[in-house]
Amino acid sequence: MMQKLPTWADVVLVPLISLLLAAFVSALVLLAIGQSPSEALKVMVEGALVSPYGWGYTLYYATSFIFTGLAVTIAYHAGLFNIGAEGQAQLGGLGVALVCLALPWPHWTLALPAAMVGAALFGAAWAAIPAYLQAKRGSHIVITTIMFNYIASALLIYILVEVLRPDGQMDPASARFPAGTKLPTLHEIPGLSLIFTKQVPANVTLFIALAACVVIWAILWRTRLGYEIRAFGKSEAAARYAGISPVKVTMIAMLISGALAGLMAINNVMGESERLLQNASEGAGFIGIAVALMGRNHPLGVLLAALLFGFLYQGGAELGLWTSIPIELRTVVQGLVILFTGALDQMVRMMLGVVFRTRRPQAA
């Protein structure tokens, strides 16, 4: 029997303990392959959090994860499990590339809004088909979005190789974007450049991501649309009773979700690589799932979880650079975090339930 936990325990304690469990198992894995967990942690912390350089990367990754985390979050509130953020982010990258390459942009302030529209449109379009199939034909969105991830990657390979690759270039990538599309990095922003004294990949997209957190929060809890999305996500039957159109909510929620996932491309494609590469999203769509889960599907939580995963990602990269621990440790840790926060959370709750049950009589 499930013991009901106090809300604070559910919101704070459960993710925290899940995280600790994931860390514990990761440490066991490290010990098993003959590495020192404390050494690994030290490298990760130093590489990701101690220097402005580390923060530059941690924030860069976090920016991407905020977008995909929010994408998963808004779909989740509509009762839809969007596993397709990865494919949507890839298509978003295509949108960014097409916009950036279309014109000799004079200044980034002009290119950025246009690229955002491109990213959001392409991401949303890629979410639209699974959404439509779910809304109209009841095709399970989890499976269709998985399929669409693969279709996206095949499509992108085709476009990069056959269409966007400039003559004479060997790697499957688009041409470099014109100089006028270069987004200022934190190093180039007055004020912040005092902290970030060297070139870092984190760029103005970070502020767009923060704004997106606020916007998504406002949509979900302050607008009729958000109200309808949440109601529909809790009970489709009741939503129908209240005159909320399942098709409309499913479509809109997924379109927003896809647009958010697509917007991630502003960060990595426009802000960092400045050209479209194959598999540019690098699994950030999947990490979005973990970020949303950890963040309890709340924009503030997503922000914090994105920072955590940004740390994991950057710290993991540093492990790959400076230790003999393969970078794949990062994937293992991510998997464990998802496992413990998303699938074994009930186990944590049960454990806590026992604690709270034994504690209560003493307190009374």
Partner: protein, 522 residues
């Protein structure tokens, strides 16, 4: 108390088929069963009654090993028996027909019957044996079903037979039936009772859970009454009366009739002509309904559950699509297109208290204030500006409505799931009635609601009528229909069988119509 009578028999007669001692069971914070003891004599039909949520199903599920009791003991034929799972219950000779059938929809009857009672690792021998046994049982007890039919193609009545066959195939001596007649027409119910009497004559023991006092009086030997998780009495049926049972059930004298003045009907508000609804499985659930509700009157729709009442409410409320014509105050409503949704209906002046508040009427995880805006979240007074909702305004409105309807506790931020059923219903009724609609659709207004709330809700309905509003009331409780309605229409199999004046009709006449016997319309 008459309950002592049973104890008196203990010394002389054979051991009880079943004896439960001190059974308790909690689901989290809900104490579903509290220290329950009951004895059931061998070869008898023992009734159990109680309001919704009294704990009847829980108790029987414990006996069947589906749930584990927190404490207490079970004696079968006088021997203490532990029933940790259903397998043990089956071994102890207990069979149970659940309130919600436990059948595999896309299996055949035969496959469902042998499931869990196979003869060996191979299916073939089990199937041929079951085919033969089923033939025998069918002859013996009038339990015909096609052994090769898929469950999903069978009517509920037949599905129930499969459940009974399952139990008999496992050679159950003790048969538990949980509200078996809720889904049956009176004729099917009579058939069932013949079967039960036949089984009783064979020496089998039967426990029957039902809400219907008539059935208790008709078929049981003894009856136990439960209230709020406790066993309040066990009496010999012959020595009690429906009134006494009702009083035991709710814990105080029941008001049989609602006080109301005669109706003064005005112009027709709702006119329905030849309304048809086809469900997802392509089954026609409404087969040409025509009816009229006028201002200032309550039209009651009586009928056994599942005869199209839900579909009628849903199509009127904009949840389901249909064909035919519906006019509200003379204006024809959209039945299939863009405006055939709940939002349009509300805009047209139709309020709807749905039959199932937990599934339709409320979002259980939403707070009370969010639920008060539910369906009316587009209302201008709930908006701050073009973009944002005015949550403060909704909370203020909620406080007001909670005060008017005496919702307890009056905390707008409390989640709906944390209110009791009666208070949940009050929130829904408050939300819909306070909108001052021209037409109120109200389904099962008092299902699972305690008696105080029943009276209150009934009064609100009558008050709305007296303001000159039209009300369409659907209820499976004949008493409620009889006491509230100004006119009664009886539904059977998607049709209106006839209309009666509550002043001149009686339960017997309505019961016949509900069974599809002797209606005037086809």
């Amino acid at each position: 108390m008459q309950g002592q009578g049973t104890l008196g028999r203990q010394a002389s007669a054979a051991p009880f088929a079943i004896e439960l001692r001190g059974i308790s069971k909690a689901f989290g914070p809900v104490q579903a069963n509290k220290d329950i003891s009951i004895q059931v004599a061998k070869g008898s039909i023992h009734g159990i009654i109680g309001e919704n949520g009294a704990g009847k199903s829980t108790l029987m599920s414990i006996l069947y090993g589906f749930y584990k009791a927190d404490s207490g003991e079970i004696l079968i034929d006088g021997k203490p028996t532990t029933i940790p799972d259903s397998q043990s219950a089956i071994r102890a000779g207990i069979g149970m027909v659940f309130q919600h059938f436990k059948l595999v929809q896309n299996f055949t009857v035969l496959e469902n019957v042998i499931l869990g009672a196979e003869e060996g690792a191979m299916l073939a021998p089990s199937l041929s044996k079951a085919r033969k046994v089923l033939g025998d049982l069918a002859r013996e007890y009038e339990l015909d079903v096609d052994p090769d039919a898929l469950i999903e193609d069978l009517s509920v009545g037949h599905q129930q037979r499969v459940e009974i066959l399952k139990a008999l195939y496992r050679q159950a001596d003790i048969l538990i039936l949980d509200e078996p007649t809720g889904v049956l027409t009176p004729a099917e119910a009579d058939h069932l009772f013949r079967i039960l009497n036949g089984l009783k004559d064979q020496g089998k023991t039967i426990i029957l859970i039902t809400h219907k006092l008539r059935e208790i009086m008709e078929i049981t030997d003894m009856v136990s009454v439960m209230r709020r998780g406790q066993m309040v009495a066990t009496v010999t049926t012959a020595q009690t009366s429906p009134e006494e049972l009702a009083e035991l059930m709710v814990g105080r004298k029941v008001l049989l009739h609602v006080h109301k003045d005669p109706a003064t009907p005005g112009a027709a508000v709702l006119e329905v002509e030849n309304l048809r609804v086809v469900d997802d499985q392509k089954v026609e659930r409404l087969r040409g309904i025509s009816l009229t509700v006028r201002a200032g009157e309550i039209l009651g729709i009586a009928g056994v559950a599942g005869n199209g009442q839900s579909e009628l409410l849903e199509v009127l409320g904009g949840i389901a699509k249909g064909s035919g014509t519906i006019r509200l105050n003379g204006k024809e409503l959209d039945l299939t297109g863009k405006f055939s949704d709940g939002r349009s209906r509300r805009a047209d002046g139709i309020a709807h208290v749905p039959e199932d508040r937990q599934v339709l009427g409320l979002i259980m995880d939403f707070s009370a204030w969010e639920n008060v805006a539910f369906g009316y979240h587009h209302a201008p007074e709930y908006q701050k500006n073009a973009l944002f909702m005015d949550n403060d305004a909704i909370r203020a409105d909620t406080e007001k409505k909670m005060a008017t309807f005496d919702v307890r506790p009056p905390i707008p931020t409390l989640a709906a799931k944390n209110f009791s059923g009666g208070n949940q219903q009050k929130i829904v009724v408050a939300r819909e009635i306070e909108r001052n609609p021209d037409l109120l659709l109200i389904g099962q207004p008092t299902r699972g609601v305690d008696i105080g709330a029943i009276e209150f809700i009934h009064k609100q309905i009558v008050a709305l009528r007296d303001q000159g509003k039209a009300i369409l009331l659907v209820s499976v409780e004949l008493d409620e229909i009889m006491s509230l309605s100004d006119r009664i229409a009886v539904m059977f199999d998607g049709r209106i069988m006839g209309e009666r004046d509550p002043a001149t009709t009686n339960e017997r006449e309505l019961g016949l119509l509900m069974a599809g016997v002797g209606g005037e319309s086809a």
